[in-house]
Amino acid sequence: MDRRKFIQQSTAAASLTAIGGLTFPSFTTKKKKHITILHTNDTHSHLEPFDASHYKYANKGGVARRATLVENIRKENPNTLLFDAGDIFQGTPYFNYFGGELEFKLMSMLKYDLATLGNHDFDNSIDGFYKQLPNAKFNFVSANYDFKNTILDTHVKPYQIFIKDGIKIGVFGLGIKLEGLVQPKLYKETNYLDPIEISQDMSRILKEDEKCDLVICLSHLGYHYNNNPNMISDLNLAKATKYIDLIIGGHTHTFLPKPTLVKNSIDKNMLVNQVGCYGINVGRVDFYFDKENNTVSQGNTILV
């Protein structure tokens, strides 16, 4: 039995079945591990590719193509996770006519692992979102939307932990301030909490308490606001926190040519990425792991 797998099971349940593995597993496990993270943001109901006559995105995008792309990568590395950073809804009549049903169904077929909520995901009100949840075979996380007094209470957790090849990956979600962006009658009693404070808590919980090897934030805060540089954004969040390895962003529809390398609050490198909108791109980040005593240098190599 694989050593890490055994730990995973012990953590999950510490069940009696785990005893089967108690013949001490050998230490000859492979030393390198490889986790692939794939991500989208602001797909905005763009289920089909853009028309060939489109002025800007001719022939680009399309969920059926995204499905092939994702499947091929999963074949190449089964330890792949697929995330979305929000604004799944709104943008084509598919949303206006079917309320997001097809968006969630297709994302489930692509085996999305997790998503967070964008402001447009409230466009049919929090009830409209709730109504479509049975079509989503993946979870939503948000750590700074307090849904306690809403229908989404208990349906959206602050974070989720995945274990892939023995690597523990903690993922938490962050949403943008809804006031002024979404009508109050749509988001109802959703309480917005300060993203920085929440992220400091979340990353501590995931790193120190849950002992995650990798901490990822799905954020719909927006990449950066040139006109309002102090406004909370992914870049500002990255600088003000520690332990986060990757922020997967959305909202600002920012087409980053490559992820941005940012120094966090303890001067450690981490990544902020966002892949534009409408499913025109899929972001890919590959994390390679080594046993701690095997790493040559103190720092890690981030190739962007």
Binding site: L22, Y94, M109, G180, V285, D286, T295
Partner: protein, 253 residues
């Protein structure tokens, strides 16, 4: 007895867990990144295309539902300071919104104003379908009424004159640019800068969109909770024929 046994098992597992963790800590040694374009070089997954198909068929049917008829092309560019489509849009939203506003507040809207850039597509002569409404107004903008001081109305007029563009305004307004300034009548009465006025617009413009800063910080703001597109669709459904013309509501003498 069983509990004790279970506890021992737990303890055993836990100690192994601790031991293992200490030995087996993995750290990130290398990170690589890539942005993958989704384009025609990638084969579409059949299962996805098949799942979309029935929805697509239904959507196309819905979106092609005929709502009204346009005897001629309605565009935003057939006049200088006004347009057939701008006039139609400003008048129809006023027509749909005023009863709602009156019911809520007991007052009448004085006029409506939107932005030229917000007219996203023209309506070609012939059958007017659901999709024309979507193309004309793809955004989820909501109609709001703001009470503006005479001073802010003057700023609104200055904006209209300065931009020299056919921003949609409703027929309640008659604005003439003159040699020395302008003449303004609102509902056939001369503009009174000591009076306040109720103006219908979208939540987007009210929040300062398209630099319409005069809409910000109004005396009061009433959201009609009525989407602009819904107002358009409702109006299209209510008339057999869309009629609109240039009537010199905004002109230069």
């Amino acid at each position: 007895m069983f509990t004790t046994f279970k506890n021992i098992v737990f303890l055993f597992c836990f100690s192994i867990l601790l031991f293992s963790c200490k030995e087996d800590t993995y750290v990130v040694s290398k990170v690589t990144t890539k942005t993958l374009p989704v384009d025609a070089t990638i084969t579409s997954a059949n299962s996805i295309t098949k799942t979309i198909a029935p929805y697509k068929e239904k959507m196309i049917k819905e979106i092609n539902t005929v709502l009204s008829y346009a005897p001629k092309d309605l565009t935003r560019t057939d006049g200088k300071l006004e347009s057939s489509l701008g006039n139609l849009l400003a008048d129809l939203t006023f027509k749909r919104a005023n009863p709602i506003f009156k019911k809520q507040t007991g007052k009448n809207i004085d006029f409506s104003m939107f932005n030229f850039g917000g007219i996203r597509a023209g309506i070609p002569a012939g059958s007017v379908r659901n999709k024309n409404a979507f193309e004309l107004m793809p955004f989820e903008n909501i109609l709001v009424v703001v009470e503006l001081s005479g001073q802010k109305i003057a700023a609104l007029i200055a904006y209209l004159i300065k931009s020299n563009t056919a921003h949609p305004i409703s027929k309640n307004m008659e604005l003439t640019i003159t040699k020395n300034g302008y003449q303004l009548y609102i509902n056939n009465k001369k503009f009174d800068s000591n009076k306040s006025y109720f103006v219908l617009t979208s939540d987007y413009l009210q929040s300062g969109g398209d630099n319409m800063t005069f809409f910000k910080n109004p005396i009061q703001r009433v959201s009609l909770e009525y989407k602009m597109r819904d107002a358009i669709v409702d109006y299209f459904k209510s008339v057999d024929t869309l009629r609109s013309r240039l009537d010199q509501r905004f002109k230069r003498n």
